[in-house]
Amino acid sequence: MSYRPTIVAFLCNWCAYTGADLAGTSRLHYAPNIRIIRVMCSGRVEPTFILKAFQQGADGVLVCGCHPGDCHYHEGNYKCLRRFKLIQKYVDQMGIEKDRLRLEWISASEGQQFAELVNNMTKTLLLLGPVKIQRSLEVQHLKQ
C-alpha cells in the first residue's frame, strides 16, 4: 500500500475550526488525510497531545489558532506559540523532523488558506516519507 501521510490537527474553536468549516461550506477541496480535533483555544494544546499523536502514528501534527491579537481568550495563542517553540525542539531531538510539526494562524474567514495549508503540509510530508520513529513505536505499541 502506498504511503499516505496522516496529519492530526488541533484547531481552536473560534478561528481555525471555523475557518476549516468555511473551507467546507465553500466546497474547497483538500487532501483527505487530515484528522481534526477541536479545542477551545490553541492555548489548550499541551505537549502531551502532540507527542501522543506522533506516538499513535501521525506523520505530521498541525496546530492552528487565531491570528496574533485576535485570540478569543485575549492571548492564548501567544501561550501556545511559546510552548510550541519548546516542543518543536523536543520533537526534533526525538528524531522527528521539524517540518512535521507546524503552528499556523488561521482566522474564521480563511477557509481558502486552510485548504492550501493542508495541501501544502501533505506535500511536505510526502517528501519526508513516513515518520521514522514510527517503527520502533509500533513495536512498543504491539508489546503493550
Partner: protein, 577 residues
C-alpha cells in the same frame, strides 16, 4: 462509573454526506466497537424525527452516551444537547463528529472520505466514554450598570436603563457630555440640527435621578465578574468612591484621524486645508471664510482621508461620504455660487435615506471627481499669483482618465474615524478584546453584535467600529435591553466548561495564575493550592496545559478526553497501515 452504553447516529444530511461517505458502512463498522449499544443512520438527524429517534433510543435502550456524526458542532451541537437532555441524560454526555464541513464537502474520493469519517466517529466514541455530566450554574446580578463614555451612545444606554428605574453610573473622561455629536452642526440625511438632537439628551442625563454622573473621570481597574463587578472612581469633589455594578457598557467612542501624516494634503502647511471637524466648527460658528478672511470661491471636499488605504486604515469609516454631501448643502446655503468639488474614491450611501440624499445632493451643482484611493492620492500645492485661486489640487481623475488641476480656495479633509489611543487601558480594565483596527470585538459579528466574550460587558457606538448616530443609538438601546433582561431575571447563566483544580496534585507553583487572561485563579495559602473562580473562568484551557503537575482539569476538554480522541482518531488508519 456505570458501564457506558453509547448510541451512534450517522447523518446522511440528504446527499450532502451520503454522496461522499458510505454512512451505512460507517455505522456498521462502529457497531462492532465496545460499548456501542446501538448504531444507526438517518436522513436528517437534526430534523424533529431525527431527534425523536435519539430520544426514543435513549429511553428504549437505556443509552447513557450519544455520538452524532453529522455537520459541524458549531451548527448543531446545541440542538442535540437539548435533545439528549430532553431524554433525561446530561447534555454534556454527548459528542459530535464533523463529517460534513470537514469531510464530505472537502474531499472527492469516496473511499478516503469514508475511512476518514470512520476515524472521526471512532474518535468521538472513544472521547464520549470519558465525558462527565456538568451542571448549569448561575450568579446573581447587581442591578446597577456602569456606562463608560458620555457620547450619544453612552447617554442613550444610560437613559434607557435609568428610565427603567435602575441605577446607572456614567463615567466620562472629558468635562462635558455629548461626545462627537456635540461638535457637529447638522446631521445627515435630513439636515436636522445636531445640537437640537444632543442638548435634550444631555439635560435629561444630567438631571436623571437614577444616573450618577462622573465627569473628568477615568476608570483604572474593574474587578469581579458578570453580575458582580467592582470599581473605584476618583472624583475631584468626593475623593475615591467604590462602585458596585452588575454590567458594563463600553461606549468610549472614537477620535478623528490626524491627516498630518498624509504629505500629499499638506495639512498643517496650508492654513486653508482643514479637517471635517474643523469645518463643522466653522459652520456652527456661522463664518465660512478662508484664513485670509475671504469668502472661498472654490471649495474641495476630499473623501476617505486616512480610510480605505493600507498605508493608514484599511477600513471604511462609513459616515464620511454622507457627511461630505451634508457639507454641500451647508455650503450652498451660505455661498450659492461657490464651486464645490467632491473628490471621492467611491460613494457609499448604504443607509436609510442615504441614496436618496446622494441623489438630491447631485442636483446642487457640484462637481464630483473620482480618484484612485490605492494608486494615487490627489496632491495639494500652492497656487501661483495668476491662478486666481488659493491652492491647486493635482489629481488623476479616474472617470475621465484625465490628469487635472482643480483650482481651490479651501479644502475640507473628510478624516477617518479611528479608535482612541486609550482603548488599551479600557481593554485592561474591563477585559475585552480588540480587532486589528483597535476597535472592540463583539461576541458574534452577526448574532451577538453588542455583547463581548466577557460576560456582562457590552460594546456600543463607535468604539466597536465606525458608525453613524442611528446605529450607535440602536446598539446602545440593544445593550440596555440585554442588561435590563438580565437584571429582570435576577441571575445569569455562566460558563460550565470551566477549569477546576485537583487540590492534592497542585504543587503551588502558581504558573496557572500567571497564564490566566481573566484573573480567575488565585492562590489559597491555607490549602497551599490554586483556586479557580469559576464565574470568571471562560474555559480556554490555557492553565490546564500550562500546569506542570497535571492538577488542573479543563472540564469537557480534559487530558483524558482529548488523549482518547487522539487514540481514536488514529486507531483505524493505524490498523490499515
Amino acid at each position: 462509573m456505570e458501564e457506558p452504553r453509547i448510541g451512534v447516529y450517522v447523518c446522511w444530511c440528504g446527499t450532502n454526506i451520503a454522496k461522499m461517505v458510505d454512512v451505512e458502512q460507517v455505522a456498521d463498522e462502529v457497531s462492532k466497537l465496545p460499548h456501542v449499544t446501538i448504531s444507526k443512520t438517518y436522513k436528517y438527524m437534526c430534523s424533529d424525527p431525527g431527534q425523536e429517534l435519539i430520544i426514543k433510543d435513549i429511553r428504549g435502550h437505556k443509552l447513557n452516551r450519544v455520538v452524532v456524526a453529522a455537520c459541524s458542532p458549531r451548527i448543531h451541537e446545541l440542538t442535540f444537547r437539548k435533545a439528549v437532555e430532553k431524554a433525561g441524560i446530561n447534555p454534556y454526555l454527548f459528542e459530535m463528529a464533523n463529517i460534513r464541513e470537514q469531510n464530505s464537502w472537502v474531499h472527492t474520493d469516496r473511499t478516503e472520505a469514508t475511512s476518514k469519517a470512520l476515524d472521526l466517529v471512532v474518535a468521538a466514541i472513544r472521547r464520549v466514554q470519558y465525558h462527565e455530566p456538568l451542571q448549569k450554574r448561575s450568579v446573581n446580578v447587581d442591578p446597577a450598570t456602569l456606562v463608560l463614555g458620555g457620547g450619544i451612545a453612552g447617554m442613550a444606554a444610560a437613559l434607557e436603563i435609568a428610565n427603567a428605574g435602575k441605577q446607572v453610573y456614567l463615567v466620562e473622561k472629558t468635562d462635558r457630555l455629548g461626545g462627537q455629536v456635540a461638535k457637529f452642526d447638522l446631521t445627515f440625511p435630513y439636515l436636522s440640527s445636531a445640537r437640537q438632537l444632543i442638548q435634550p439628551f444631555i439635560q435629561r442625563t444630567e438631571n436623571h435621578p437614577n444616573i450618577d454622573l462622573f465627569l473628568n473621570t477615568e476608570i483604572k481597574e474593574v474587578t469581579g465578574y458578570i453580575g458582580n463587578f467592582k470599581s473605584k472612581v476618583e472624583t475631584a469633589e468626593n475623593g475615591t468612591i467604590e462602585l458596585n455594578f452588575g454590567n458594563i457598557i463600553v461606549a468610549v467612542g472614537l477620535k478623528p484621524f490626524n491627516p498630518t501624516v498624509i504629505s500629499e494634503y499638506g495639512y498643517g502647511q496650508f492654513p486653508d486645508v482643514i479637517t471635517s471637524l474643523e469645518f463643522e466648527e466653522m459652520l456652527s460658528n456661522g463664518h465660512l471664510l478662508t484664513k485670509y478672511g475671504k469668502e472661498p470661491r472654490n471649495i474641495a471636499i476630499i473623501h476617505c482621508v486616512g480610510s480605505r488605504n493600507k498605508k493608514y486604515h484599511e477600513y471604511c469609516s462609513r459616515v464620511c461620504c454622507m457627511a461630505a454631501l451634508k457639507f454641500v448643502h451647508e455650503i450652498r446655503a451660505c455661498l450659492s455660487s461657490a464651486n464645490i468639488f467632491e473628490i471621492y474614491a467611491d460613494m457609499r450611501a448604504y443607509g436609510k435615506g442615504h441614496e436618496e440624499f446622494y441623489a438630491l445632493t447631485t442636483h446642487k451643482q457640484i462637481i464630483f471627481l473620482m480618484y484612485d484611493q490605492q494608486e494615487s492620492l490627489p496632491v495639494i500645492r500652492q497656487a501661483n499669483r495668476n491662478d486666481n485661486c488659493n491652492m491647486i489640487i493635482e489629481m488623476d481623475e479616474k472617470l475621465s482618465g484625465e490628469s487635472i488641476e482643480v483650482p481651490v480656495d479651501m479644502v475640507v479633509l473628510m478624516v477617518n474615524m479611528e479608535a482612541h489611543e486609550n482603548v488599551k487601558e479600557v481593554v485592561r480594565a474591563v477585559g475585552v478584546s480588540l480587532c486589528g483596527n483597535q476597535f472592540f470585538i463583539e461576541k458574534h459579528p452577526k448574532l451577538d453584535p453588542v455583547a463581548t466574550t466577557t460576560g456582562g460587558v457590552f460594546i456600543v457606538g463607535s468604539c466597536q467600529g465606525p458608525k453613524d448616530i442611528p446605529d450607535s443609538v440602536a446598539q446602545a438601546r440593544a445593550a440596555a435591553a440585554r442588561i435590563l433582561a438580565s437584571i429582570a431575571q435576577g441571575s445569569v447563566a455562566v460558563e460550565v466548561t470551566t477549569a477546576s483544580v485537583i487540590e492534592h496534585l497542585c504543587c503551588g507553583c502558581q504558573t496557572c495564575i500567571r497564564v490566566c487572561p481573566y484573573d480567575a485563579i488565585s492562590y489559597n495559602e491555607e490549602k497551599q493550592a490554586s483556586e479557580i473562580n469559576e464565574v470568571l473562568c471562560k474555559g480556554c484551557g490555557t492553565c490546564g496545559s500550562a500546569c506542570p503537575a497535571g492538577a488542573i482539569l479543563s472540564k469537557h476538554f480534559t487530558d483524558t478526553q482529548i488523549l482518547a480522541e487522539i487514540t481514536g482518531i488514529m486507531s483505524m488508519s493505524y490498523k490499515g497501515a
